[in-house]
Structures are given as C-alpha cells and as structure tokens.
C-alpha cells in the first residue's frame, strides 16, 4: 500500500522546491527535473512496501562518539585570510569591532 499519491512531480511542485532550495531554474530544467525526480521518487517508493512499524531511525551508522576537547580559547584565522575569498568586502564599516570589515551583500530590503 502506498501511504500517499504517486509522487510524479508537477511543474509547480518543481518550482516550489527550487524556490525552497534557492535555485533559479531555466525553463528546460523545470521539465527535466520534473521527469527525472519523478523517476527517482517512483523508484524510491519501493520502500513503502516495507513494514517499518516500531523500527527506530538511524542517523549515523557508528554509534561511538569522539572525545570532547577542553573548551579553550585557541587562535583563529586572521581577518584577511577569512575575507580572502569574499566576493565583496566592506573594509570601512565597523572595521574596529569586526577586526577588518564585513562580507558585503546586495540590498536585502527594497
């Protein structure tokens, strides 16, 4: 038994997912992903045939966890190293507080 309708994706669904993922798709890609993701999800529906009542989910295959390290202040990267890859950097504003500036982004609010 399928728990829900066959998930062959509509254009609108693909566009909604793209918006959630911050991906601007080209028109051809919407069609392509609708078909390909539909194929993959149909294939994945095999899982719905398995009864997993009471089976706990696994997030990590290995249960052991590493040792904690002491919570000590350690040297971090210099500001120039951090900003070395920045597409745009604002050196002037608040330079003293931030140790050399900010990442600059386009206007957020219109």
């Amino acid at each position: 038994m399928l728990a829900f309708a066959m998930p062959v994706l509509t254009r609108a669904q693909v566009e909604a997912v793209a918006a959630l993922a911050h991906l601007e798709l080209e028109p051809g890609e919407v069609e392509m992903f609708a078909r390909q993701l539909g194929d993959i999800l149909t294939y994945a529906d095999e899982l719905q045939h398995l009864d997993t009542t009471g089976v706990p989910p696994t997030a990590y295959g290995v249960a052991s966890r590493g040792a904690d390290r002491p919570d000590e202040v350690r040297p971090s990267l210099a500001a120039d190293e951090v900003f070395g890859n920045a597409p745009e950097r604002d050196r002037a504003t608040g330079a003293a507080q931030a140790g050399g500036g900010f990442f600059k982004v386009p206007r957020v609010i219109g």
Binding site: L47, T52, P57, G66
Partner: protein, 504 residues
C-alpha cells in the same frame, strides 16, 4: 600479459612485472638515499605532463609547491629519515582543502576558492613527509559515479580512454593506476573510492565512519562521508591509513578507538577466517565476467585456508533508494552554504534573494542541482516522514542485516561494481541508471562499515577492462580487510598490472 617494464633496473624485486613503483618502494629508495625526493617528484610531474592531457586525472598540478617541498625533504634528511611517507608523491581529491591551493571540488561555484587552512589529512600527510603533487578531478562535490559531472571535464579510464574511470574519486584512481602518484586520497559517500578503484584496477579503502577526520573535506553527506587511500597494494594503504587515521579535535565524529598497527596485520595468514557471501545479491544482474572473477578470488582465499559461508542481506536491495534519499537530504543542507556571500562565485545582479538563486543556478552543475532538489523535496513538510524518516528506518534494517551477518562471518564479500567501466556519455542522460551502479557499495556507508575494493582480474572481451571485488568488515576492523587484501596479492598478479597509457 602485463606490459614490459620501461626501466627494469629500477623495478622492485618484489614486483618484477610492474611498470609502476609502489609507495613503499619509493619511500624506501628515498630513505636509503638511493633516490632524492626531488628526483621522484620530477618523475611524477613528468609523467603527469606526458599523460594527463589524455587522462585528465588532475584539476590542479602543484608543480612549484611540490618541488619546493621535495627539496626541503632532501635538505633536511635527518628529520625525514624515519618519516613513513618520506618524499612520497600524493594526489588529493579536489574536495580536500589545501591551504593556499585552489580547492574546487570540480565545481564552477568554487572555481576560485583558495582555502585558508589544510584539511587534517593534509597536515598529517605532510607531517609524515609526503609531497602533495596536485588535486584530482572528481564528480562535482563528489556527486556521481563516473567523474563525468565535473565542471572541468571528464577523466578517462587509463585502460580505455573512451571509458569512464568510475567516480566520484575518478581522478585519484586514474593517478594511481597510470603511475602518476603511488598514493591518492579520495572520499567515499556511497562508493566513491571503491568503485573507481575497481574500474581502474587499483586498491581503494573506505574506512569505518569516524576512523579518519573529515575536517577540511567539503561536506556532501555528513553521516556517510569518509576519506580513504587509493594505492596499488594493501601495504601502501596500511602505511597511508596509519598516517591519516585517528582522533581529531577538529572533527567530533572521529572515534576514540586506537589506530591499529595495520602493517603488522599483513601476515598472509587468513586461515580460519569466514567469508560471508550473499549469493542471491551477487548473482542478480551482475556482468558474467565480474561474477567469474569474483568466484575465482573466493577460491584463492579458500586455498589459503579461509572458509566461505552463505549469508543473507535481505534489505540490501533497498540500499540504493535509502542512500539516495538520505544522501541528498544531507547534501541539500550541506550545500546551502554556497550562496555567494562568504566565498565562491557570486552573480551580483538583483537583491539578496535573487543573488542567492542566480549564483547557485550559475555555479552548480545539473547533477548537484538534481540532488539538492531531491534532498529539499524529501525534507519538505508533508514528505519528511514518508521519505526521509522511512529511509532512516530502513537504514536501521540494513545495519541489522550486517550485524547478523557478522555473527557468522568475519567479512562480507561482493563484487564492487555490477558492470565494467562503461563508455563516456553512455548514462549521463539517465541519472537513475547511473545510481544503480552503486548497488554493492552504498550499504557500507549507510552502516558505517569499512570496505576495500581489490583488483581481481580483467574482462575477457576487448577492450581489456579491470574488475574489482569488495570486502566489507566489522567496524574499526580495517586490519582484517588489509590482511586479506595483502594475502590475496601474494597469490595473484592483478595488482601489478599497469595500463598501456602508463608506458607512454
């Protein structure tokens, strides 16, 4: 027949038929003063210059850095006299961060990204005396099984240039197979070390989850990713693993289990070891030549005193859908960081939201977008329980299958890939077909288990293409896997074989 050695006088007595030197040969020659690190480094760079136009194993060759480092090792011989990797040229998959050297993960979005720090594995290799030669091609962000999803173009299989080398660590497998470097590191999220190793005829080891630090590895599926070595033989993988494994304060998922003395485990003795074989899985839809080579490998172990036991992995057939739901969910979250703000590509048009979307549209290739979309979908409201939680529950069932198998067997044996390397372009338009190539490899990642692919023969048809088989072990039991691989190498010559391109 293996090709004739080009320089028989330089070949090791241990591998007279091999054209390509092993890591331990090279390391020993440098330690003893027989060769200089600069000489070895130049040879590696020369081979890359001669062969890489056809192979495209490398995205970046670090000529200047490598020669400077090799000269440093030659100058300071005392310091490196006992270094486990003294002067050994190493190739790194392009998703492993190298300070000051572009790390792009074969993505346009990181085409100009220069990390301000080294991955933990890089600092450990360097401390051990290694010479980093360059960054190898891979599928973009390690997403793929053929190395065709690279923004910098596909790599070629050195055994047949019109074929895929496997993926996603294709460039690393090509580098070792073609004798460009004796050691390469790859990353394995669903088979990305083992499958290209099998397809290029080298050994590839995916370690237990938590055995090797992921600090500085560009994240794809954080519960699945592991870094591991590709080498010509088990001893070299043992040396590499001793160097890179172990607890790391920078990666809280690294394990506290002590790192074994893997080289001491290479005793050749496999008597009494029980090899579990899931026959129903192995014989379903697998290339006949691969099944034949696999059975012959099992016979080799039997002749050495190991025993075969039949096992069942009833949920293994669900491993592909589970993997592609879990891995894409994790990827969609991990790749959210590529937004044009702090590093990488930016399309500066429009306001902030438009900048994000356009940057990601321009910067990511089709497979990466497809996986981000799939992962976003399975995590979205209304589908989370049906897909993501369901997949995690079936992951539990797969894990229990292995726990049960290891009650009766010490290792589980399977082919690595159901098919030999296919032609470039053959499956690029059908992602689902491409995903099915991972049927034997994804379970080890889902269960966090170590697994090794070992060369075990060639296809009998033309062209002659490598075949590998896989041994999966108990958690943190890499020693048994390497012991078995080493024992197998003592009885076979597959590991010595070098492709025709290596002699050019």
């Amino acid at each position: 027949m293996p090709p004739e050695p080009r320089r028989p006088e330089a070949a090791s007595s241990k591998c007279p038929a091999s054209l390509v030197s092993t890591l331990s040969d090279i390391r020993d020659a440098i330690r003893s003063g027989e060769r200089s690190a600069v000489d070895v480094c130049r040879e590696s760079l020369d081979r890359i210059a001669a062969a890489d136009g056809a192979l495209h194993a490398f995205n970046t060759v670090m000529t200047g850095e490598a020669l400077a480092r090799a000269a440093e090792i030659d100058r300071d011989r005392d310091r490196f006299r006992d270094a486990p990797l003294a002067g050994v040229p190493v190739a790194l998959k392009d998703n492993i961060c190298t300070k000051g050297v572009r790390t792009a993960a074969s993505s346009k979005i990181l085409e100009k990204f220069v990390p301000p720090y080294d991955a933990t594995v890089v600092s450990r290799l360097t401390r051990a005396g290694a010479v980093i030669i360059g960054k190898t091609n891979c599928d973009e962000f390690a997403m793929g099984s053929s190395t065709e999803n690279s923004a910098f173009g596909a790599s070629s299989n050195p055994w047949a240039l019109d074929r895929i080398p496997g993926g996603s660590s294709g460039g690393s497998a090509v580098a070792v197979a073609a004798g460009l470097t004796p050691l390469a590191l790859g990353s394995d999220t669903g088979g990305s070390i083992r499958q290209p190793a099998a397809m290029c005829g080298v050994l590839g080891l995916k370690t237990t989850y938590g055995r090797v630090s992921r600090y500085g590895l560009l994240a794809f599926g954080s519960s699945l990713d592991q870094i591991g070595p590709l080498t010509r033989r088990a001893r070299d993988a043992a040396i590499a693993l001793e160097t890179i494994a172990g607890l790391d304060a920078a990666d809280s998922t690294t394990a506290t289990e002590p790192v074994a003395d893997y080289q001491s485990a290479l005793s050749g003795d496999v008597r009494g070891l029980r090899i579990g074989v899931p026959w129903s899985l192995v014989e379903d839809g697998v290339d006949a030549g691969i099944v034949a080579a696999f059975k012959a490998a099992l016979d080799t172990f039997k002749a050495r005193g190991a025993t075969l036991v039949d096992i069942e992995l009833p949920h293994a057939k669900y491993a592909i859908p589970v993997y592609y739901l879990v891995a894409t969910a994790e990827a969609s979250s991990n790749l959210a960081r590529y937004d044009g703000v702090r590093y990488g590509l930016r399309d500066p048009q429009g306001e902030l939201g438009a900048m994000y979307s356009r940057t990601r549209e321009k910067g990511f290739g089709a497979e990466v977008k497809r996986r981000i979309m799939l992962g976003t979908y399975v995590l979205s409201a209304g589908y989370y329980d049906a897909y993501y939680v369901k997949a995690q529950q079936v992951r539990t069932l797969i894990l229990r299958d292995y726990d049960r198998a290891f009650e009766r067997a010490d290792v589980v044996a399977m082919p690595t890939s159901p098919t030999p390397p296919f032609k470039l372009g053959e499956r690029t338009s059908d992602p689902l077909q491409m995903y099915l190539a991972d049927i034997f490899t994804v379970s080890a990642n889902l269960a966090g288990l170590p697994a090794v692919s070992i060369p075990c023969g060639f296809t009998t048809s033309s062209p002659r293409l490598p075949i590998g088989f896989q041994l999966t072990g108990r958690r943190f039991d890499e020693a048994t896997l390497l012991r078995m691989a080493d024992a197998y190498e003592r009885d076979t010559e597959w590991w010595m074989q070098a492709p025709p391109t290596a002699s050019r």
